[in-house]
Symmetry: D2
Subunit: 336 residues, 4 copies
């Protein structure tokens, strides 16, 4: 099969590799669609994210869908032919974190497209049975791939405890920020205020659930917003700070955007209002909710797709994803 | 009656004032013991705490016990003679925060010894019926007063979700830090590590529940502590930072100590471990728990008392409280 | 003013009464619309509900809206002219339940239309400031009144922990059951199965959010439903039993419907699946959510109204409400 | 090795069997102590529990400790020699329940001493690495075995949300009831009322944490107890009913005792007090807490042991366990 690999010198190449063989508890998936994530772009541009360094050829891509074409010995063969969305993680099955229902925090997690674990910019991948989630026909291949970023949003919105009537501030209107606005609306939030510096993205936010947008470079509002929750999808220190100050007493801030090393927070405000500041690391137990939202809950993930690319065009897909005008590039490893 | 007042020029004076008359839903309490809190010392030394300025004579003291000697029209007269611990707050009864069970966050709260509301360094005070908590005979007058700082600890330990088997790091071994160590032990924590710069206080910590102490000015431990919870009772930025880094995945930091304006937090650590950072503002619904802990739960509050003072000695009590060797000064307004 | 009173002999009469004068913390409301509840019908037909006996003239009606026309001394006069929905309860302000955020469980609660407390089938009523909830213009007078049964549904759906993707079984398709189906949909439930014996009501259920209906007199389904939650709005023992058996492991049953004295529950099923069985008693802190749902959340309460009645027609309104074809009768005390 | 097996005709026999070989992720344990549980007695006396029938030779015993003497290929050999307490369950590693943190509810669970899965009345057993919990030297072999019934108590006490100051009613003073009383005390409960018909057991309860006992065959108390929580360890319908009626508003009932098929509960009381009725099925994520309680938290499990038996004496152990005077029989499969 063909795989697109990122080399340590940050060039991309097509490699011929053997089709992987599923383990006992795994399925083999012929990959349909793979969304390009900011982390893929970061590995491509910088060759590393924090301690994770691309020092050997690495297949990028972790937002993937496909069709099951073979199964391991402990998986029912009736699954062959199923259209699935891939949850791209392999936690230790019986680690303390996993048994406690927080498998995303397992210290020995092996995650797609994170050195040295390959991702999905290739024709076939294997994944454990339990992490190949069947999708209904109402969810397209692209949408099935984008259940991954939707899961990021679901994990954050759950921690933010949004529900009918909630008021939320979201910082950042990139693909994750937009997925969060859509998700907030699906959870019943009635005020969804998106703060974003780029005018085009502010405009897009209105199409994806925002009830109002803020240009954070303009003046601060005279009166605090008093929102129930703040979700950061920007990673920008001033945005995080403003967002926390906008919270009502007992409000919750969920920090998802990466970037700032340090964030300086006003201690007395956290105390006097008994605010809760937390973050999310990927997701756990989100796929069924994401599938419901995408099939019945009114979240049209296809609208996030900006353009499609073949396996030979992964570099173009990554370059496009780096431009602010793009919402989501999608690679189709088996297209010609 | 006699009252000790702090004047705007930061001197103390005894004033003769009329005994207050309880409102319909209030009781009149003859004050027995009043603990001296760090905030009393701060008002005395600085004339203000944040936006709260002593610009008129103010009675300090908010850790108080006494005996009910009169009741308002809607309070049963059978309460006269009861020994009580005073919960020194008056929230708006039907505010949104109060109805939601968070009366401590009511924006119109009137709290003892917070300008312009007088405290308990006087012979008599009034308080609403519901906030004069009956104490059993096994709780002394001093201990009944110190249920207030114990309530601060209970509120923090609850947010930290301590229970049997928990491992907790507490920063600061002043009276609040010690109350937290005692409370953590009563909640079943099996490792209670107290970080404190002052050697005498580290020594005291061992007497009040700590299973280990750390000198934060010494070297960092080679391996992270991986505690379930961190409670800050120091208000010191480096302590808060170290405490947060010591948390296990999904751990909780509760920031109680005041002081630092800004705290710089490591964003990636909060995200990757899904930590929760929060604070407490005083307390709500803690007194019954505090009474249980002090009467049956093995917390001997009397051991915190360093010395007693009369109303004429409030200045000495405040000066003593400012010295690190003192744990808790107690004023007895009706002693001679 | 004119009031419709239920006499101990279960006849209704119009009485002339003085307009009530608001207490310091109350408002006077000119009543617009009052929904007829099953409990009103029960008092009318039986003269009692459990220990509450109509042994003196009683004004029925507790689902009420109106316009503030006067205020007590501690309420801002700017509220005069506001259109409001009435939360018809008066808890003790500082009871233990109230301070804990469960004011609906206050043992000294005084609730509209519950002997000896009068309700809203009269031209004017008083209510505490905090329980007269301002409604926007997008909510009609009738809908403002029906925020009360909607609050019953919100309280139940919260306890059932419904959210996007949830699967719920609701027993009973009377006005409360229908409000629950609407609310479940607004909370994101994707399967809303309504069990109801009356065919007309099953039909109505489809108009109010049900994705499927069941005739419980027909055969049991071969395979259990495995729903996340069961909400009973029927009070019928067989319905409760079937509903509990339909739950998935760790599922929740919320029992709202009154009627059965005893319910026989299968102990081993509750244990083996770790089910949670609970009930709701009215509501607390629901109005803002209900207002959001009715104004922005897609719940059209006006569709529940079957017919309008004047104060002289309260008997007709009660008789109509007792018939299965009626969803909701509305009394307009100030109409002519 | 030697194994004690229960035959379908309900006789016991010693069989010679090959020592089991640990799978990749398992350890081999030389068994030290095995407590006799009521379920072992039930299989011995009745040949079945519900749908689980002893229709082939079955090794009983699921409260077990021992020493690791061999490990599978994926387990570090450094574990050999460790003294361990066995958590006697094998859930599917990636089932929906397991990933959600509720592995005890996994429908494909294989549990010790439950047909057709063998238990620990044999010289050696295998168990997955993660379920062989290392114990410190302060915990004896017997106590390490009894961490299993202690885990049952921990699971129940957690659901009952006991903490400092709690008031709890426990029905039944058999070994589980006593473990619950001990656990409730360790969690800080200040009133622990044990209801038990047998006078000797009521007496024992006082030795194991009860602050009061009730003879349920005597008259009902005049005023309701108004406890925060009720835990049933009796399985007796009248006890469950009385326990639920004893709850304060918003109280919790946790039903652990097996026996009654149906329990008739008062619907209006559940609703008017918003009670929560639930059950526990074994335990999940309890062992670390149980180890803490047994080593540092003051629970002396050795005091529960009534007598020891060899593998040849399993029948005597089971007969003794069936007598009310016995608290806990312990089998030592490797003793001579």
């Amino acid at each position: 099969m063909r795989a697109s690999v990122l080399l340590p010198d940050r060039t991309l190449a097509i490699e011929e590799r053997p089709v992987p063989i599923p383990e006992d508890d795994e399925v083999l998936v012929r990959v349909s669609s793979v969304g390009v994530c900011g982390s893929d772009v970061h590995y491509y541009k910088e060759g590393r994210i924090g301690d994770f360094v691309v020092d050997a050829p690495l297949v990028l891509g972790h937002e993937a869908s496909g069709t099951i074409c073979a199964v391991g010995s402990r998986v029912p063969s009736s699954r062959i032919g199923e259209r699935v969305s891939i949850e791209p993680q392999r936690p230790s099955p019986l680690s303390q974190s996993t048994l406690a229902g927080r498998y995303n925090l397992d210290p020995n997690m092996r995650f797609f497209a994170t050195p040295p674990v390959d991702g999905a910019f290739q024709e076939y991948v294997t994944i454990q049975d339990a992490f190949a989630h069947r999708v209904p026909d109402t969810i397209s291949d692209d949408a099935a791939a984008l259940l991954e970023p939707l899961s990021v949003a679901v994990a954050a919105v759950r921690k933010a405890a949004l529900g009918p009537g909630s008021r939320v501030l979201i910082a950042g209107a990139g693909p994750i920020g937009l997925a969060m606005a859509l998700t907030a609306r699906a959870y019943g939030a009635v005020e969804i205020i998106v703060a974003e510096v780029d005018e085009r993205r502010r405009h897009a936010a209105h199409d994806f659930g925002a009830t109002a947008t803020i240009d954070p470079t303009a003046e601060e509002p005279a009166t605090p917003l008093q929102v129930d929750a703040f979700i950061d999808a920007s990673g920008a220190t001033p945005a995080i700070r403003s967002g926390i100050l906008a919270l009502r007493p007992a409000g919750v801030a969920v920090l998802v955007g990466m970037g700032a090393r340090e964030i300086a927070l006003p201690l007395a405000v956290i105390q006097n209002r008994e605010l809760v500041i937390t973050g999310t690391f990927r997701y756990a137990n989100t796929w069924q909710t994401a599938i419901s939202l995408a099939s019945a809950g009114g979240i049209e993930l296809d609208r996030l797709v900006s353009a499609h690319y073949s396996l030979d065009q992964v570099q173009e897909a990554l370059e496009a994803a780096a431009r602010p005008g793009t919402i989501k590039s999608v690679v189709q490893p088996n297209s010609v």
